[in-house]
C-alpha cells in the first residue's frame, strides 16, 4: 500500500514549510464506499463511490493553515503545499527524514466487504425485511440499509511521523414502522463495527427482530411523564449520555478555550468512587476504533474517569503541545478535506457488578430509558438533551408501561455526580458524532446506569 512515497511526502512538507512554520503534515486518503437499501420490500439505490486526495497543513504559533486537493498527483500535492505556505512570512522550516509508513496495529477483518458480491448484501436486506414483517400484523413499513466503507490512510509530518492505516467498516440498520388505528410508531436497530462482512452476516435477523419489537411495544405506550425523577439508562446506545454529557466537555479544544464545564477540573472528584470511564480508540473491532488517529498517533485506551476522579482530557497533537502533554490519539477528521480536531473514539463507562434488575428495583417511581434516538450538548454549559426512543415507567421498583415522547434534559456535571449505580453488562453501539461540520463514526457504550434525578420532559 502506498499512496504517497516517503520521498514525495518529504518534498511536499519542505514546500509547505518554505516560508516558515514549526510543523507541517500531509494526510493522504483513498476511500471507497458502497451502500444499498430496501424499502417497501424492494431493493433500491445501490451506489458506490471512490474519492482520493490529500490535505496539507502548516502550523505557525497558534495559527493553522490548511489546503486540500483531489487526487494524489505530485504536481497537485506540491501546488497545494505552495499555496498553504503563501500565508506565512518566516524562515524556512526543517523536515525530519521520513521512512516508509508503518501501521501500528490493525483490527481483524475476516471477509473484506468489497470482496462480497452486491447480491449477497441485498439478500441480507431481504432477510431483515421478512423477519421484521413476520414480527406482527401491525408492522406497516420496513426499511433496511447496508453500508460499507474502506479507507486507506497515510500521514507524514515534519517531526518524522510516517504512519498508515487500513480501515474497514460495515453497518446494517433496520427501521420498522408499526401502525394500529391512529397510532404510528417507529423502531430502529443498528449493528456496526470496524469489522468485515462477518459482523453483519451473523444472525442479521436479530437486528430486524429488535427494530420490530421496539415499534410494536411503542404502540401501547402512554404519554411520558414530566418533571424530575430517577432514571435508569439502558446499556449500549444509552452511553450516548456519557458521550454528550461528559465526553464533549473533555475534548481539549473546548477545554483550552474555557468552553467546557470540565476546564480546570482534572483531579476533582466528579462522581461516586465506583465510576470509571474510558475513551478507547484501540478497542478491538469497535465502531469508533482505528489503528492510528488522523494525525498518525496510535489509538489507545485513555482513562478519563478513575474511581470518580477526572484524570484526562482528550488530545490531538496541537492541543497536547499547548498543554505540554502527549496526544491521546484523538485527532480525527471526516476526510482529507477537513482539519483534524479532538474527537472521541469509543467512549464508555467501565462495568461494575450490579445487575440491571438491582438498579431498577432500587427506584421507587421513575423512568427506564432503554435507548435514545440521539442527543446534543452545549459543552460550554454542560446542558444536554436526549430523545428517549424506547422507555418505560418504573413504578414501585418494577418496569411497567412503555412511554413515548420522553426527552431527558440536564447538566453534565450534575448528571455525572448523580450516577448512583452501574451494572455489569457493558455494550458498545454505533453512533455518528457531528462537530464543526464534520460527521465521524463514534462508538458509545455503557452498562446499565442509574442516575438519581434527571428532568423528564413529556407531554402527559
Amino acid at each position: 500500500m502506498t499512496l504517497v512515497p516517503p520521498a514525495l511526502a518529504e518534498k511536499v512538507l519542505e514546500h509547505a514549510l518554505a516560508r516558515g512554520g514549526e510543523f507541517a503534515e500531509i494526510y493522504a486518503e483513498d476511500r471507497h464506499g458502497f451502500s444499498v437499501s430496501l424499502d417497501d420490500s424492494k431493493i433500491e439505490g445501490p451506489g458506490g463511490g471512490h474519492e482520493r486526495g490529500a490535505g496539507v497543513r502548516v502550523v505557525s504559533g497558534d495559527a493553522t493553515y490548511f489546503g486540500h486537493v483531489d487526487g494524489l498527483a505530485e504536481e497537485d500535492l506540491i501546488r497545494v503545499a505552495d499555496s498553504v505556505s503563501q500565508a506565512l512570512r518566516g524562515e524556512r522550516g526543517g523536515v525530519q527524514d521520513l521512512s516508509d509508513p508503518t501501521a501500528p496495529h490493525g483490527h481483524a477483518i475476516a471477509t473484506a466487504p468489497g470482496d462480497v458480491e452486491a447480491a449477497r448484501k441485498a439478500e441480507l436486506l431481504r432477510l431483515c425485511d421478512e423477519r421484521a414483517r413476520g414480527a406482527g400484523d401491525a408492522v406497516d413499513q420496513v426499511t433496511a440499509s447496508y453500508a460499507e466503507g474502506h479507507r486507506e490512510v497515510e500521514v507524514f509530518n515534519s517531526d518524522g511521523v510516517a504512519a498508515a492505516d487500513l480501515r474497514t467498516r460495515v453497518r446494517l440498520g433496520v427501521q420498522v414502522i408499526a401502525r394500529r388505528g391512529d397510532r404510528v410508531e417507529t423502531g430502529m436497530q443498528t449493528r456496526g463495527g470496524h469489522a468485515g462482512f462477518e459482523l453483519v452476516e451473523t444472525d442479521p435477523g436479530q437486528i430486524a427482530d429488535e427494530a420490530a419489537r421496539k415499534a410494536l411495544t411503542l404502540l401501547d405506550a402512554v404519554d411520558a411523564p414530566s418533571g424530575q425523577m430517577p432514571v435508569v439508562v439502558g446499556n449500549g446506545f444509552g452511553g450516548v449520555l456519557l458521550h454528550e454529557a461528559v465526553g464533549h466537555g473533555l475534548e481539549s479544544d473546548a477545554v483550552q478555550k474555557r468552553a467546557s464545564v470540565y476546564a480546570g477540573r482534572i483531579g476533582d472528584q466528579l462522581a461516586e468512587p465506583f465510576v470509571t470511564a474510558y475513551d478507547d480508540g484501540h478497542k478491538a473491532n469497535a465502531w469508533g476504533s482505528d489503528g492510528i488517529d488522523d494525525e498518525g498517533t496510535p489509538t489507545q485506551p485513555t482513562l478519563i474517569l478513575e474511581d470518580g476522579r477526572l484524570v484526562s482530557y482528550l488530545y490531538d497533537l496541537l492541543r497536547a503541545k499547548k498543554d505540554g502533554t502527549a496526544s491521546t490519539g484523538n485527532g480525527r477528521r471526516m476526510s482529507f478535506r477537513h482539519l483534524p480536531i479532538p474527537r472521541m473514539t469509543n467512549t464508555y463507562f467501565a462495568p461494575c457488578d450490579a445487575s440491571p434488575e438491582d438498579l431498577i428495583a432500587g427506584v421507587g417511581n421513575g423512568l427506564y430509558a432503554v435507548s435514545f434516538g440521539g442527543g446534543q450538548v452545549e459543552p460550554a454549559t454542560g446542558d444536554f438533551v436526549f430523545g428517549v426512543s424506547e422507555g418505560y415507567l418504573i413504578e414501585d421498583g418494577k418496569v411497567t408501561a412503555p412511554v413515548r415522547g420522553a426527552t431527558l434534559v440536564g447538566n453534565g456535571i450534575d448528571a455525572l455526580a448523580g450516577v448512583d449505580g452501574i451494572a455489569g453488562d457493558l455494550d458498545i453501539a454505533t453512533g455518528f458524532c457531528g462537530k464543526d461540520g464534520q460527521s465521524i463514526p463514534a462508538g458509545v457504550g455503557q452498562p446499565h446506569v442509574r442516575i438519581r434525578a434527571l428532568t423528564v420532559g413529556g407531554t402527559a
Partner: protein, 447 residues
C-alpha cells in the same frame, strides 16, 4: 476535464455501457474558511474540490456511482460501476428522468463582489465580528468566530439532451459568545449570511452573539407548566425546516409523514403560510434547476392553514400523478432526494414585543436542542430541550434553561396565534426565511 464536459461524457459513457437513460451531476468549487480567536487567525483553510455523480436507469433499475477522478478513464469507471450496481436493484416502475427538463429564469445568484475581496480583508471582517462580541460588557469569552465563503459551479447533463450549468456564491459569518463563568455561564450565537462578504455586517453579527448570551445570564430551571410559547426567529426556522421535511412527497408515499393523505385539510391555524420558493432573489438555495434538471419554482405548501401541496420530484410526481415542484436536492455523492429549497414563513404584522404582550404569561424560546432526536416525523410527537426567557404580564422576565418544550406538530401548528413581522434568512433547518411565532399552548417541563 471541466465538470460540464465531464457530466456530458459520463452520460454518453453510461449509455454506451448499457444504461437505458442516465444523468450526471458535477460540482466544483473553491472555498475559504477563517477561524479567529482573541484577535488572531486560529486557522485558515483555502481549497478547491470537485466531484461527479452518475445515475443510471436500466428497465426501472437504478443506481449511482460517484467519484473525484474526472479523467476519461475515471469517468468510464463511474459509468461501469453504476451500470453494474443497477443489477442488484429491483425494478421501480416510477423511476426515471423528468419528462421535461429545463432551467428557470433565476435571479442573480453569483456576486462579482466576492472576487474583489482578498484574504486579508476577509480575515479583518472575521476579526471585526469577534471584536464586536468581545467588546460588550459582561462577555467573558468568544469561543469561536468564523468567516466562510464559497464559489460553486454546478453542471447537470442527462440523456434527454438537457445540459445545464450555474455558478453560485455564498458568504457567511458567525460568532459564539459566552456571558458569565463556571456554572453561571450562558452562550449566544450571532449569524449573518449573503452572497458576498459585503452583505455581512460584523457589528450586527458579533453584537447578536453578545446580546443573546447576555440575555440568558442567571438562567434557572423554570417550574413545569402549560403556557403560551413564543418561538424566536432562530427557533421558528428550525421548526419550519422540520415541517418542510415532513412535506416531502417521498416521506409521504413511504408512510413516513404524519401529513400523508391530508392535502386540502386544515393542518395549521389561519395565521400560518409556508412557501417553498426556489427562485427567491435572496434565497441561499435559489438556482435555475434542481438536482435532476427540473426548473426551480415557487410552491405554496401551507396557505391560510390549509395543506396546499407536498414537495415533489420526478419519481414521486409520477407515482402520485402530479407535477414535480422542482424539489430534488442532490450532491455529487448522493442520489437526488426530495427536499425543500428555500422555505419562507410569510411574516405577519406583530413585532416580537407585540407577540410577548399577547402571550401574557409564558416563555420566549431562543434556542432549542435535540431536534433530530426529539421530534417523531411519523407520529408528530415532539419534545426538545430549550433555553429562553420567561414572559411575565406581557414583558420579558427572568432567563430560563434546562427545560423542554413538548407538543405534537399538528397541535402546535393549529395553535399558532400570530406570526411576527421581523422576517429574516437564517441558516437553521436548511435555508429558511423565518419570523417569530406565538403558540397558544405547549408543555414546558423544568423542575
Amino acid at each position: 476535464m471541466g465538470i460540464d464536459t465531464a457530466a456530458s461524457t459520463a452520460v454518453e459513457l453510461a449509455l454506451a455501457q448499457g444504461a437505458g437513460s442516465a444523468d450526471a451531476f458535477g460540482v466544483e468549487g473553491e472555498d475559504l474558511t477563517v477561524r479567529v480567536y482573541e484577535g488572531e487567525v486560529e486557522s485558515l483553510s483555502e481549497a478547491g474540490a470537485r466531484g461527479l455523480g452518475v445515475r443510471v436507469f436500466i428497465d426501472g433499475r437504478t443506481a449511482l456511482a460517484y467519484g473525484t477522478d474526472l479523467t476519461e478513464p475515471g469517468i468510464g469507471a463511474l459509468a461501469r460501476g453504476a451500470v453494474e450496481a443497477a443489477q442488484v436493484s429491483d425494478p421501480d416502475e416510477y423511476a426515471g428522468l423528468p419528462e421535461r427538463s429545463g432551467a428557470a429564469d433565476a435571479p442573480p445568484i453569483s456576486s462579482p463582489e466576492l472576487a474583489r475581496w482578498d484574504t486579508e480583508r476577509k480575515i479583518d471582517l472575521a476579526k471585526a465580528v469577534e471584536r464586536a462580541a468581545r467588546e460588550r460588557d459582561g462577555i467573558s469569552q468568544v469561543e469561536d468566530t468564523i468567516y466562510a465563503d464559497s464559489q460553486t459551479r454546478v453542471a447537470l447533463a442527462n440523456s434527454t439532451g438537457f445540459r445545464g450549468e450555474y455558478e453560485q456564491t455564498a458568504a457567511y459569518a458567525y460568532a459564539y459568545a459566552f456571558a458569565g463563568e463556571g456554572a453561571e455561564l450562558m452562550t449566544g450565537l450571532g449569524v449573518g449570511a449573503g452572497r458576498d462578504p459585503a452583505a455581512l455586517d460584523p457589528e450586527a453579527i458579533g453584537g447578536e452573539a453578545a446580546e443573546r448570551a447576555l440575555a440568558l445570564r442567571g438562567a434557572t430551571k423554570p417550574a413545569t407548566r402549560r403556557c403560551p410559547v413564543v418561538l424566536d426567529t432562530f427557533v421558528a426556522a428550525s421548526f419550519a425546516g422540520l415541517i418542510g421535511g415532513t412535506l416531502s412527497a417521498d416521506a409521504v408515499q413511504r408512510g413516513r409523514s404524519l401529513f400523508a393523505g391530508r392535502e386540502g385539510e386544515e393542518i395549521a391555524s389561519k395565521a400560518v403560510a409556508l412557501v417553498d420558493d426556489g427562485l427567491h432573489p435572496d434565497g441561499p438555495a435559489t438556482a435555475p434547476f434542481d438536482g435532476e434538471g427540473s426548473p426551480r419554482r415557487r410552491t405554496p405548501l401551507i396557505e391560510n392553514g390549509v395543506l396546499a401541496s407536498f414537495l415533489w420530484d420526478a419519481r414521486t410526481a409520477r407515482k402520485g400523478g402530479r407535477e414535480t415542484t422542482g424539489s430534488a436536492s442532490r450532491s455529487y455523492s448522493s442520489k437526488p432526494s426530495v427536499g425543500a429549497s428555500n422555505l419562507v414563513i410569510e411574516p405577519g404584522t406583530d413585532t416580537l414585543e407585540d407577540l410577548c404582550a399577547a402571550a401574557g404569561n409564558g416563555v420566549l424560546v431562543t434556542h432549542v436542542t435535540g431536534l433530530h432526536s426529539g421530534v417523531n416525523p411519523v407520529s408528530g410527537t415532539l419534545s426538545v430541550g430549550a433555553t429562553g426567557r420567561l414572559i411575565e404580564n406581557g414583558q420579558l422576565g427572568a432567563p430560563v434553561r434546562e427545560m423542554t418544550i413538548a407538543s405534537d406538530l399538528v397541535s402546535m401548528l393549529k395553535s399558532v396565534r400570530a406570526v411576527g413581522s421581523q422576517g429574516r434568512w437564517v441558516p437553521f433547518g436548511g435555508s429558511v426565511m423565518a419570523a417569530p411565532l406565538l403558540i397558544e399552548s405547549m408543555s414546558v417541563s423544568g423542575s
